[in-house]
Amino acid sequence: MSNETASEGVMVTINGMEISVQPGDLVIDAAERAGAHIPRFCYHPRMSSVGVCRQCLVDIDTGRGPGLQPSCMVPVSEGMVVDTESEGVKRVQEGILELLLINHPLDCPVCDKGGECPLQDQTLTFGPVESRFIEEKRHYEKPIAISDLVYLDRERCVLCDRCTRFAREVAGDPLIHFMQRGNQTQVLTFPDDPFNSYFSGNTVQICPVGALTAKPYRFRARPWDLSEVESTCTTCSVGCRINVQSSRGELLRYQGVDIDSVNHGWLCDKGRFGFEAVNSDERLGTPFVRSDSNPDELVGTDWNTALEAAASALKAASGSSVGVIGGARLSNENAYAWSKFARTVLSTDNVDAQLGDGLCAEMVMSLPRATIDDAATADHVLLLAPDLKEELPVLYLRLRGASQGSTKLIELAPAPTGLTRYTSAAHGYRPGEMGQALDELLGGATGDAMRSGRTVVVIGRPSLADSPGEVEAAVGVAQRLLPEATFLPALRRGNVLGALDMGLAPGVLPGRIANDGSSQAWIDTHWGSIPTERGMDTIAMLEAAASGRLHTLLLIGADPLADVPDRDLVERAFAGVAKIVAVDTFATASVKRADVVLPTTAFAESGGTTTNLEGRISTLGRMVTGPGTVRDDWTIAAELAWRLDADLGLESLPGIWAEIEAVAPSHARCSPSMLSADSEGVLVPLPVVAVPEPDEIADDDADTSEADTSEAEVDEEQAEGAAAVVEAPSVPASVSWSAPALVDPPAVDGYALRLVARRRLYDAAVHTSQASSLAALADDSTLRVHPAELGSLGVESGSRINVTTARATIVLQVTADESVPRGVASMGFNQPGISAAELIDHREPVTEIRIETR
């Protein structure tokens, strides 16, 4: 691309054309840029070169005459002459393909890969016309399941080492390997040790033949029948770029798109196969209202009736007696619509996209934000986070990859995580003592090392059984002792950071500005008058509801019963409110308790944009139509506003985005043309224009309008100079946050264990339970305790026990696990059949549990 401009390029001649390429580039890549595609099977730009398939042999002359060399193994050198089309190269390409096809079954008509198969395509382009092989081909049992999700047909395999290399190098799960090397070389798992990697689906995507197929897609479509649109996965907040593919109006497959900044083409299996949940028969397709005759029953109804019921429930509540919970799974546009609806129509600041399981919104917005690339290239990454492998799998891949290079991972966690084995130092702490442990860690040599280089701190909730205040105090310690560090928020739900940016948090307005009066002039010109009194967050709303101070709860894609780490509080809140209105895609436990249920569109059924944990905004693609009469959230908000005698003034998704650009200072100048320019998305806030190097972004902007650019420049001057007021209303300053002081840790109860409750990738939530291929993978429903701890309690591993807190006693199976520190018990937060939320009291700094045999 821009190699010509590089000053230290290497001059090479490719097929007679002299070009400048980057030193270190492989011949196969340099040739690609020169327009000469070299056929290949084993080479993959995101993995190390192995040169095993021999398909990419080309004539390379470095002064000793041309000779055949694998172009994926040879870096360019000055004066190199490459010929990819010589007679010799053509003979070799034919010969290798003939060899590979000797044992290949040529069952293309029944093979899922047919139509998008590199072996098929390259045979047609480069291969021999006929095979001379008339003998019996090699036979294997076909196909065999190497995991619950992936099938292997060894007859089709060309032994390119892509899947095995991916498992070893990228995923770190080398559970598949070449076995019986020699005449019988084949890819296999160890007996009874399946390829249970969270990333197994990637091997299917990179397989250059039809040897690996994914159970959810097998025999469902032919590639030429698929329609596709590029989108961004919203399963978690990493924001992997994907191609959404459908046929006959049904989602059939997601494929990873390779973007440098985020996912490198990889996806986790939960994201990749999550389309099954969108297709689920359990999706809500029609509105429901609670039956008059039988209050235990929700009855299907029409939109008019349901919207009228919802509007009257909201009308009956005044600004302080209504609460809006959720929105972290919506697009930015939908989140903006609800944020505006809450402030301007419901006149309330009681909005929160997080469910008491996140971080303080002001903290997240005001900390200097790191990107994933920043983390993956930092000298040190300090992990104050949940288990990233379970919650943000592709971030785990990126950090794992970084740890193989020069980045040192330092972890502080109450129990080991998926990344622990890749850390250069992993420190434990007793739940409740995170701040103290971090203070001690950073005060010493580790802190000195981190201060001397570039450090990124990944912050999140290491355990949902502890209060969020513990994390906030710890972040304060990190800020104080690592003043140069940047922060990457490890919040989990797909668009939680976008929702916060859109003002779905109490005291925060769209664009990371505070709703404290300082921004009144600004917001008044856009929204009109709104309440400036700080509202309640989710926990406070639930407490208010429990004590009868809230009339109506509006749940927008939220399931507090499953997700709030205090089930008892939610139960009391639901009992305490008069009305619950739920806008959702599934009848979750909370939705079943609602008085009005409004069905909404799911992923790939609506467009718009989403924001990942870096603040990167990227587009969502619309591919299919939702079931029944589902509507987009923003149209529901607009309809409800109309029925409440107001006008949201929102008419289309592009219209909403234009309004966001104008209203949200952090999103200013982020134009639709920038968003659709490439797959990488746009990081907001945009950098100031006055940077020394020529800025592509500024160029892009110039073609929209002159006025825009000059206004934008003014904005930036203000942002930089902070106080200068050029025109009214001035852009409000961003939210601020000051860390709470460290509090003394709670006293240790020698008879109790401290609970560590963390989410697993496959849990009881709808994204897993409604995806038929994934549901069975959510299996870890045990309490894990160190064997010595069990020994002293006289409890046997595998037995069922009573686990008691002040909140509840629940029955669990206990498993001895040496990796769990003494004094701690670890469990999944929301696994099938168990819920840590039942045990947790959100007012307690830590959750002490007692274990008794039954």
């Binding site: 799960d173 080398p174 390997h177 070449f178 019986q180 160890f190 007996p191 040790d193 064997p787």
Partner: protein, 212 residues
């Protein structure tokens, strides 16, 4: 502490072999370099390499069982199914073939009552075909547990089988898997030990050193 409870959980290696395994692992800068020596150790203990052995080796060398099996199955001399106490390989390459290897194999099948590739019911003998054993001047040749027998006649073969069955050759032919009767343990002052290559600064540690 972790290692202790590992030991109690693990089951394949005997206590003595587990100690040896730790010694072997300690010889290498990278644990997984010990994979093949440990596969030999497993085969020596058990006669062949079972899944439990590979699972335990994987744990010892910090690899997955799939990686251990993938590495081990490359090698013809590692057996991943039960074999007899004595594995008899009869060479069938040119010199031996010209000097009567086919007749010898035929006779061996008759004598042992099994086809090539099979194991006798008493679990004593596995009969295998082999390619060149690098002793063409001594054709026809065979190996018993990789110990050579030269210029083997059918009578020699019968005597060999009778001697092995009666235990008269125990002195020079140990059970399958045994590489050597004397296990050489490297004295600490001559062991390279687990030193990463980039950290090596003096002469090679295995060279005789002053005062050693």
């Amino acid at each position: 502490m972790a290692a202790q409870s590992d030991e109690t959980q693990m089951s394949f290696f005997t206590t003595e072999n587990r100690r040896l395994a730790d010694v072997i692992v300690a010889r290498y800068p990278k644990r997984r370099s010990a994979t093949i020596p440990l596969l030999h150790l497993a085969q020596e203990q058990h006669g062949w390499i079972c899944d439990d052995a590979m699972i335990e080796i994987a744990d010892l060398v910090d690899a997955t069982p799939a990686e251990v099996k993938g590495t081990g199955t490359f090698y013809e001399m590692f057996k991943f199914h039960p074999v007899g106490k004595y594995v008899v390989n009869i060479c069938g390459t040119m010199s031996c073939k010209l000097m009567g290897a086919d007749e010898l194999m035929n006779h061996a099948e008759q004598k042992l009552g099994v086809a090539v590739g099979e194991t006798t019911e008493d679990g004593l003998f596995t009969l295998e075909h082999a390619e060149c054993q690098a002793a063409c001047t001594e054709a026809p040749t065979l190996q018993v547990n990789y110990r050579h027998e030269y210029r083997v006649t059918t009578d020699d073969f019968d005597r060999l089988v009778d001697d092995l069955t009666a235990g008269r050759r125990d002195g020079d032919i140990p059970a399958h898997g045994t590489l050597a009767r004397i296990r050489q343990e490297i004295p600490a002052n001559r062991a390279v030990g687990a030193v990463p290559p980039e950290e090596v600064d003096g002469p090679p540690a295995w060279l005789p050193q002053e005062g050693a």
